[in-house]
Subunit: 602 residues, 2 copies
């Protein structure tokens, strides 16, 4: 393509709408334009990058025997009601766009396709002889994000590869799950990105096990915890660890102390000159289930630790049965208005006791009969601990479970693992931290959807059994931007060769110089004919502008038909290293072909 | 791909949901499944067909220098309000899906992308030096059809190629429009379909000229009128012609006659023993503009002719200024309820006079001040004609414009052309009729969108001028089904080779016969290695079932490793002709390659 004929518009200034480098660079280099909140147009260069990423994904999926399909974005609400996720996706998370058609039917715009694919499987799969089966698509998805941001990183319309596998058994599922783990490592390796597979929480998708693939980048939204021995890495949402040892308590006697102005662990520990590990912190949450029941949750945890709300959510989903709820619609920290509804008197925030319900909530039992106490494992073994007194400005010290406070039956892991914690698999390994961008996620779903939607098959022995399912996603458009976030410098983008929109750009420094033009035209034609995807900068612009643009846009190899033409040579500059060398005209095609080959299949 | 490992499910019976052959066959052969009203899943075989069609479209578009992009499906309502089409698309035609996001902003799901692309052009095009420019995409579109039907023919979610070109002048636009005409002829020729380009109405897209491309098929929704000399063809909505000559009137004296029970032209002509061409028929419509004004339209036309409501709509859009309306929201035949609002007394339906307003509408002028009379060209030259009297059961005869009735100023062509009419370009040519499926439509938009949305460029002389635009669509998923509608027989689909999901299928009649299996496996491997896209029917099924399935699915070439193996031969059956021949094993690959080559590039 000739730049003179292309939609090629670069900006000198960073656009105000962008915060992180990759978003700024994609806008400045003319890859994308914002059309609405979280909604972007993919312009010609971006379209090529997306096609390259898609093709790598497609090839690795096809190599596993998965078959490509295309499912509709518009999904009848009935399917989501069958699976039980309509409320979660329209209310609890509220991230699904819905609309009403001219027949007044509710229609969802698919953020994911478990329901649709399960409906197809229910219709088309009859026998174990059709299994295993793996269908995937590369498709535009929709999510009504609370905070769309960072360009393609968290958009409201984006491109995903999503695949769904069907099995007769957990073993068969695990086999495909392992195949996908390998296929994903292959595809991310082939894109040329540094990435890390991590243990992950399954969230609203559900199922028994899942793994994410993170592209490593400082601006990543996710925190990863990992060990140097390579044996453990997890999303911080999911990570487990051994917490630091607690310092034994020095308070041997139970008593209530005047502790003015100590609503935080930090101020309290300073005032009492004790370790935060001696304190039991009590955090109040409010959970709303789909049956309308509100549950007050008092979570007790060791003072130096924090509640991981993803883990807490998972516990509350598991406990839903106890309250008659199927779906957890919301988990919030109750604000003043919420407290006023059920607290007998203003809550002593910062001074809450493990026995809060007795004096504050119990009185109002008729209004709010549901109260749940959870104790994190870190708080269970503490003795003679410090904790709130239910009276502002006062704490108790020397307290013990089973004496002053009954130990709740629900002892759980709701603790946020942290960098510096010891690893579970080997306490000599210390958790390290890195930031990542989630570009892949694979799930063992089991029978969650097939049971809910009645998708069964007939087994070899004639039994009708629910299909065992897995699902596997790749964020195609997100990956494209993640590549930029991981690979750029002050001058612009540095595309990995495998997903660069073009391999090379031939720059004519001076288009009034006939020799330069002639040499460039020949190189442009020869390179393209040889399969080197090449741009020609034939614009009537100064050489400096052309060099700056080629660096901003990030094409891996720049060929300049400049002064050395007289010696039968051209300058070739590698974008990543900025190394420049003179290469004979008749060597250019073979040299670039070799470099590209080496970069794409290392 | 092995059928034993594929999602391959065929149905013996026609599904009740389908009416036309192509829809039945795509369902029966496992290409598509219905997910909701007008919404389909494209299964693995269909996905391959869609990719082949898309690739042909892409290659022909790229060959013209057009650049591929991908625009968002979600479009802010603001853009549609800027262009003035929000009301048309959400109310008048009402075919646009809209939703409200979590910020309570209205968002449209794009049925077309003029607004989005014009916003991008406004942002990125500054100078004449960037022009001409042509951007296109292959994308999922959404339309809330009143009657979704016929599978992919009229779906609510479908795949389109839509391209938009930008120019400095009408001449440049016409140049690209001509390039597109050629590109479209190339692409439809390459798909292997019989098609016809026709003059077309531009509808809600607007602009000055447009042409449709019709795939010829009996079940086509569109009627085409054409002449045998190949010089004229048009969609019936747009077609013009010379009507048959009128028979001179025998009524020389103006008088009112008692004509009981003659509310139709047929009964009246029979009663008066006159030709329908002597009658002026007066048809009442009601037009509603976006400024709230309702206009009563009385359209007079020669009795043997019918009003073409598309032409009438276009006239009313043009006349909108006269009534202060920008957008025509609705054109309807007023029902009793509507009539009751403004008619002074019950209307004498079937007996309406060209002077209707005097006695029936004029009295109510305050309520309904807008009244418009239009006369079709066919009615203007009539003398001593028969027409309604404004009194039920009575007509007048021997009437003349300018005597009994003033001739309205608005003489227009609102007549429906018909098969049998004489062609305008050569009255010796008689219009013929054919049915077609619209698969392409190209438009000269002019400055409609650029003016409305302020998309300008700076000309060579420094002037800021509106961009001149064209737009060009191909119905990708519709074309795939149209191919089936045009190419099938009682046994199933007959794919043109260029868009068949696979070129060949190797059938093992008996999978317990080791020699058959061995030969088939080798052919399957060799054919795929040679670029012949080949399926292997290795299922444990009877040979008859396999043959029937291969015919239903419509793979162009079937290779059967049957009895002739003993002579070192296999049977090859061509799907289209059902011709069978024995070919030596070592000739199969070269023979099929040659046949495919001949079929794809004839």
């Amino acid at each position: 393509m000739r730049l003179s004929q292309m939609l090629f518009v670069t900006l000198r200034e960073d656009p105000a709408e962008a915060e992180i480098p990759s978003h700024k660079l994609l806008l400045r280099a003319g890859y994308i334009r914002r059309i609405g909140s979280g909604v972007y147009a993919y312009l010609p260069l971006m379209w090529r990058v997306l096609q390259k990423v898609s093709q790598i994904v497609r090839e690795e999926m096809n190599a596993t025997g998965a078959q490509e399909v295309l499912l509709p974005a518009m999904q009848p609400s009935e399917l989501w009601k069958e699976s039980g996720r309509w409320d979660t996706y329209t209310q609890a998370e509220g991230i699904m766009f819905t609309l009403t058609d001219r027949q007044n039917r509710e229609v969802a715009l698919g953020p994911t396709h478990e329901e649709v694919i399960t409906a197809i499987a229910r219709d088309m799969i009859r026998s174990y002889r059709q299994l295993p089966l793996h269908l995937y698509q590369i498709q535009t998805k929709f999510r009504d994000e609370i905070r769309p941001r960072f360009g393609l990183m968290r958009g409201r319309e984006f491109i995903m590869k999503d695949g769904y596998s069907f099995h007769t058994s957990e073993e068969s599922l695990k086999q495909t799950y392992a195949d996908m783990d390998r296929a994903y490592r292959n595809m991310f390796t082939r894109t040329g990105l540094k990435f890390r597979p991590v243990e992950a929480d399954s969230g609203a998708i559900g199922g028994s096990g899942s793994q994410e693939f993170m592209v490593l980048a400082d601006a990543g939204e996710d925190e990863i915890l990992y060990t140097e021995d390579g044996k453990y890495s997890a999303n911080t949402e999911k990570a487990v660890s051994l917490p630091p040892d607690a310092v034994p308590s020095t308070f041997t006697k139970f008593e209530k102390l005047d502790t003015p102005n100590t609503p935080t662990i930090e101020t309290l520990a300073q005032f009492l000159k004790c370790s935060p590990t001696q304190i039991v912190k009590n955090v109040l949450y409010q959970a709303v289930y789909d049956n309308g029941v509100t549950v007050l949750v008092l979570a007790s945890i060791r003072g130096d630790q924090d509640v991981n709300e993803v883990k807490l959510t998972n516990e509350l989903v598991k406990l839903g049965d106890r309250f008659g709820g199927k779906t957890l619609l919301a988990l919030t920290v109750p604000d003043a208005e919420a407290q006023a509804k059920w607290a007998a008197k203003p809550l002593p925030l910062g001074y809450i006791s493990p026995g809060l319900e007795d004096s504050y909530i119990g009185k109002q039992e008729k209004l709010h009969p549901k109260f749940l106490r959870l104790v994190d494992k870190t708080a269970v073994d503490l003795q003679n601990f410090v904790t709130g007194s239910n009276e502002s400005g006062y704490h108790v010290v020397g307290a013990n479970w089973g004496k002053q406070y009954p130990l709740p039956g629900d002892v759980v892991d709701i603790r946020k693992a942290r960098p510096g914690d010891r690893a579970m698999h080997d306490p000599s390994q210390i958790l390290q931290t890195a930031r990542g961008i989630e570009v892949g996620h694979i799930f063992q779903l089991g029978t969650k959807y097939s049971k809910a939607m009645g998708a069964t098959y007939t087994s070899e022995t004639g039994e009708e059994l629910p299909l065992v399912m897995g699902c596997y996603g790749v964020g195609v458009s997100r990956l494209a931007q993640a590549a930029v976030e991981q690979n750029h410098d002050k001058d612009g983008i540095i595309w990995p060769v495998a997903i660069a929109p073009y391999h090379a750009i031939v720059v004519i420094p001076n288009i009034t110089d006939a020799a330069q033009v002639e040499a460039a035209e020949k190189l442009y034609a020869d390179l393209n004919a040889a399969g080197v995807e090449t741009l020609l900068d034939d614009r009537d612009e100064r050489a400096g502008v052309k060099f700056k643009d080629s660096e901003l846009v990030g094409i891996p190899f720049r060929v300049v038909t400049g002064r050395s033409l007289q010696q039968g040579k051209v300058e070739v500059v590698q974008r990543a290293t900025k190394q420049s060398q003179e290469i004979a005209l008749d060597q250019i095609v073979s040299t670039l072909k070799q470099w590209i080959q080496e970069a794409i299949a290392p």
